[in-house]
């Protein structure tokens, strides 16, 4: 193979090109992983809800923090046409006194379906009262499975029974608890420091507790086959807002702007990568104009010459992809776990596919010059 002979003949030159491609690949992959890390860090707990649809209180603009559905409303959703299964999801702010440092995060109360949480350490399933399954990034705060953590200022405790993954919300690890624990945390939060006093001494507290009973923030719904999110929205009417978990994830907390920025970064890195790779091969093509003219004068078709270039690109981009993936993985391993870095294989596969595409697009510059090289110039010795 001509293309390979040339690479082997000029090892240093082509090694440098492969390295440069590798750096570009590493850059695109790292940016992709960091972007992905940012987005899952911001929304993982919302977007990964095991549901076809998420039902919010109407007119809350898909704001999880503000949405509130009463027990009666939850039942109405559960009973609606097209709903196969439904479980309430409660959201509440908590402050955790972790060993390393205290931090603010959220607890999610799930009415059921704890099987949706992938367990990376400890045990899964429905936690009992006062227990929690926590996103594994809590390890960075010194939290371990089995720890019992004080929640401030409400004088409650949660015991960590297992770690799950990709379940952060606004960059903080979410604590998953059962609905009873969730209600307890809510009531305690409402009364703040007064929570130490018993309910019996405060008639108004009993009143509030009754009202809170069975209410949640949103309802996660699994639809019957053939029923769409829009169908459910139609059925439920204006008192509710119905969206997919992905739409829910991208609403609020500045996510629309953040997603724009993140996509912008990736598009820019991709375009620059395509240009740089294209220019590399364009330069090597320009460098060989005389040789290409001679080969064409000997009877090589343009297709033959272009195939050689494509073969070289294939070899060098594959080398570059290996180098780049290695560098990106190394960079990821070197980053602290709190850093948003989420190397997702499917995304990287897409990135790699795009790198081959960029190289191909870049090769079109070269194709143009290959087509333009006049084989007759091979006989003009004066120019050489």
């Amino acid at each position: 193979m001509l293309a390979l002979s040339e690479i082997l003949h000029s090892k240093l030159k082509f090694a440098l090109i492969a390295l440069a491609i590798g750096l570009i690949v590493a850059l695109t992959m790292t940016l992709s992983a960091m972007s992905e890390g940012l987005v899952t860090g911001m929304t993982g707990a919302k977007g990964n809800l095991d549901a076809d649809a998420v039902v919010f209180q109407g007119d809350t603009y898909l704001n999880l923090e503000r949405s509130l559905l009463t027990a009666e409303e939850v039942e109405r959703v559960r009973a609606a046409d097209g709903v196969a299964e439904a479980y309430g999801v409660g959201h509440i702010f908590i402050s955790v006194d972790a060993p390393a440092k205290a931090f603010d995060t959220r607890a999610f109360g799930l009415e059921g379906d704890f099987e949706q949480l992938p367990i990376v350490e400890g045990t899964g399933g429905m936690p009992t009262d006062g227990e929690a399954i926590v996103d594994e990034t809590a390890r960075a705060d010194g939290i371990e499975v089995g720890d019992t953590l004080a929640l401030t200022p409400i004088d409650r405790e949660l015991t960590v029974i297992g770690f799950t993954e990709n379940r952060r919300y606004v960059m903080a690890p979410v604590f998953y608890v059962n609905l009873k624990t969730y209600e307890d945390l809510r009531v305690a939060s409402m009364f703040g420091a007064m929570a130490e006093t018993t309910d019996a001494e405060l008639p108004s507290a009993t009143h509030v507790t009754d009202a809170v009973d069975g209410s949640v923030s949103v309802v996660a719904v699994k639809l019957e086959p053939g029923v769409t999110v829009d169908d459910l929205a139609q059925t439920l009417g204006g008192e509710f807002d119905v969206v997919t978990p992905d739409e829910a994830a991208l609403a609020g907390n500045g996510m629309p702007v953040m997603v724009l920025a993140v996509n912008g970064i990736q598009v820019v890195s991709f375009v620059i990568g395509a240009l740089v790779i294209g220019v590399f091969f364009y330069i090597t093509t320009l460098h060989k104009t005389g040789q290409i003219a001679a080969v064409k004068a000997l009877g090589a078709s343009n297709a033959f010459v272009y195939r050689q270039l494509l073969a070289q690109i294939l070899v060098l981009v594959t080398l570059g992809a290996l180098i780049g993936t290695g560098l990106a993985l190394g960079a990821g391993a070197g980053m602290p776990s709190t850093m948003a870095f989420d190397p997702r294989l499917d995304r990287w596969a897409v990135t790699l596919g795009l790198v081959y595409l960029m190289a191909f697009v870049g090769s079109l510059f070269s194709l143009r010059s290959i087509l333009r090289i006049d084989p007759a110039t091979a006989l003009d010795h004066a120019e050489h």
Binding site: L2, K296, A297, L298, G299, S301, A378, L379, H381
Partner: protein, 225 residues
């Protein structure tokens, strides 16, 4: 029998006041198994003539006839196929592929047409032997002398059994002794085969090794010996 006929070929570069008539009504023919030297001063149109026969340039008028068939090269693709199948081209500065060994440079020719077979390798070795290069087969062009490179280039041009060998200034970069040697070898190869060889030179001594000499002056055939 004349294998190659050049019929009333003219070539004008440019147009209007900048027009240069490089060839003006050139007519001649070459017999099978013979070698023709084209002799002429600089700018007389030698390279232009070679380029037209090689299908690298279109004549402004006139035609090239091979084996009785006028050639028509409408696209770059048919021109490339024509060069692969009918023409053996030797450039003045050889244009060996620098990253291919001598034998791989020969194998480039069948590679352009498709696959390289064991017979091709056999043939390449045979040609290298014929031109005294059997010990140089694995050498890279940078490791060869000027005369050796010249012979590799000639052997390469012969790889596809061309009907017409076109050789541009084969001896420009060689001393007279080596130059004559190369021309003699080439002549020996051509004679007795179903091919002809056109050799461009401005050195009269080299032309002596040819069967006939065509003298070009200002784009016209001045003398045909």
């Amino acid at each position: 029998m004349s294998l190659l006929q050049v019929r009333d070929v003219s070539k004008t570069y440019g147009s209007g006041r900048a027009a240069v008539a490089a060839l003006d009504g050139v007519t001649f023919s070459v017999e099978t198994g013979s070698m023709l030297a084209i002799l002429g001063p600089s700018g007389s149109g030698k390279t232009t003539l070679l380029s037209i026969i090689a299908g690298l340039l279109q004549p402004s008028s006139g035609e090239i006839v091979i084996d009785g068939d006028p050639i028509h090269l409408r696209s770059s693709r048919t021109a490339a196929a024509y060069r692969r199948e009918k023409i053996g081209l030797v450039f003045q500065d050889y244009h060996l592929i620098p990253y291919l060994s001598a034998v791989e440079n020969l194998l480039l020719m069948p590679r352009l047409a498709g696959r390289v077979s064991a017979e091709h390798r056999e043939k390449a070795r045979g040609l290298l032997g014929e031109f005294g290069l059997e010990k140089r087969a694995k050498h890279m062009p940078s490791e060869l002398s000027g005369g050796e490179r010249q012979r590799v280039a000639i052997a390469r041009a012969l790889m596809n059994d061309p009907e017409i060998m076109l050789v541009d200034e084969p001896t420009a970069n060689l001393d007279t002794e080596r130059g004559t040697q190369v021309v003699t070898m080439l002549g020996e190869h051509v004679r007795g085969r179903a091919m002809t060889c056109l050799m461009v030179t401005h050195d009269g001594r080299m032309a002596e090794g040819a069967d006939r000499i065509l003298r070009l002056i200002d784009g016209r055939v001045a003398e045909s010996l």
